[in-house]
Amino acid sequence: MPPDSLTFTKTNWNGTRRSSYFPVIFSVLFLLTFVGSYRLAQVQPLLLFEAEGRRNIWKFVAGMFPPDLSWDFLRLLGRPILETIQISLMGTFMAVAIGFPLGLLATSSLTFKGILNEREIAGSRPRALFHKASYLLARAVLSLFRTIPEFVWAFMFVRAVGLGPFPGVLAIGISYAGMLGKVYSEILEHVNPGPLEALQATGASKPTIVLYGLMPQALPNVVSYTLYRWECAVRASAILGFVGAGGIGQQLEISMRMFNFNQVFTLVAILFVMVAGVDALSARARGAIMGRQRI
């Protein structure tokens, strides 16, 4: 009974949001969606316990041991592992290169709202419309980039430019540009406007304001979020190999399709170590950056 108990906690804390119908409507819709989904997804829990399913799972688990640690196999993996890291790095670079300018355009306080634009926009209506339009366009592009999963982007880029790490970089670059751009614009919209106004009062141009008023404030958050996205990019680029976009995923798919589960075990273990290592590295870097900010 999650809906009831949830609204319960909320309405008790602030009585302003008390709405008597919401829990009922929510519960009914939730149940309807659940039943509909249950039928649509062809859920058959018993399948898991049937003899064949059980045998298959057992075959899989038994096949994993002992993990394949032969030198011949491990030697194959050096290059894909490095490639996975390289794809994630280059993809993140590209995402920043695309996402940052779009993020600036998608920041309402820079393009058409607030004190920075008052004088410029006040006189001319066309210019105001132009500013607003560039803002909306940037938002739309960012939303398109991030809504299509990177996997689908990779799929299409492999078709367009051929196999290899290059389409992987493009896929991560495009879809992460969408996420980075959106978050950048949120960070930029929430900076303290005081320094910006002071700079404007001295007659500074807009690029100067961005460089000296906005960036020093926003940089720690921007860098820290970018690092976090890089962690995600490592995970993603390991998967992109499934569609032929290079990296360790390609080997994972081959082993999976060949039913070499002992190799799958090794690969997943490597993936785990890699992701954990990158997480730790990026967490330390983020800690250093945010620590610096806090002094």
């Binding site: 062809q42 898991l48 367009a160 000296y212």
Partner: protein
């Protein structure tokens, strides 16, 4: 946020003193080296991307996509696949919550053997070992669920129960269960201690403390995390179709492999619509419930 703003603004380094010190130059050089290394390693080519061969290829492919296939028949089918994908993400998220809730209280140190609740306990080594064992078991289970990528889970489950959205939903639930278990665990380990202390002082049992002291605190955050993971799951549900788990992903794979570009565009539009819808729905629910 305005607070941190002023602080960091004060930190803006005076020119020439702080900017070019040794450590910053080292960081920049390392950064540049990484960039070159990955540029070469990934066979990236900026020239071919900006007006060269790749640009032409990408442009040609994009042009091929138009116009989308909007025949009534195909639209109906797309609608069905979209709903299937939605169902997968919805049920997968529910399954994930069930898995996470089943394990999270065992995987929280402050509920199992450490901290306030156990300060006054009589020393009974065997019970402590049992509790620590349970904790380690729950924690490592969650780790395994989380570490194996959802695509690999999907492959395993397709292998075990056959094609269709059902294995996709299971894969989403299992992987996300691990992720949510970890996120929930962090919430539970960071609860405010005063209510617990107060309850303990009244002589409440541990189960009562869990229900009246801890759950009311963590529930809103649990809901927020669940909704956030649902947004992730709808995207992953699209991907899972690639390995035979039904829904839009499977059709995308077919459309790409058979060069049915117009249909591909229709499917991509469907992805855009369903993902955006789920994002809005989740944001709405979050504002209502949390």
């Amino acid at each position: 946020m305005p607070n941190t703003g002023t602080q960091s603004a004060r930190l803006a380094p005076p020119k020439g003193r702080d900017l070019l010190n040794a450590s910053n130059i080292m960081i920049l050089a390392g950064f540049f080296a990484l960039m070159v290394w990955s540029y070469i390693g990934t066979e990236f080519s900026l020239r071919s991307l900006l007006g060269g061969e790749s640009a032409v290829q990408i442009w040609a492919y994009a042009k091929n996509l138009f116009p989308p296939d909007l025949s009534r028949d195909f639209l109906l089918k797309t609608g069905h696949w979209t709903l299937e994908t939605f169902a997968m993400s919805f049920l997968g998220t529910i399954l994930a919550v069930l898995i996470a809730l089943a394990l999270v209280f065992f995987s929280s140190r402050n509920l199992m053997f450490a901290g306030l609740l156990f300060e006054m306990e009589r020393s009974r080594p065997w019970l402590r070992v049992l509790r620590t064992g349970l904790y380690l078991f729950a924690k490592s289970t969650l780790n395994v669920l989380r570490t194996v990528p959802h695509l690999v889970w999907a492959l395993i489950l397709v292998f075990a129960v056959g094609l269709g959205p059902f294995p996709g939903m299971l894969a989403l639930g299992i992987h996300t269960g691990g992720v949510l278990g970890r996120l929930f665990g962090e919430v539970v380990e960071n609860v405010e201690t005063q209510p617990i202390e107060a309850l303990q002082a009244t002589g409440a049992s541990r189960l009562q403390i869990l229900f009246y002291g801890i759950l009311p605190q963590v529930l809103p955050e649990f809901v927020a995390y669940t909704l956030y993971r649902w947004e992730v799951n709808i995207r992953e549900a699209v991907i899972l179709g690639y390995v035979g788990a039904g829904g839009l992903g499977q059709q995308i794979q077919i459309a790409i492999s058979l060069f049915l570009e117009h249909r591909l565009l229709t499917l991509i539009i469907a992805i855009y619509v369903i993902v955006t819808l789920v994002d809005y729905l989740s944001a709405y629910l979050r504002s209502r419930l949390v």
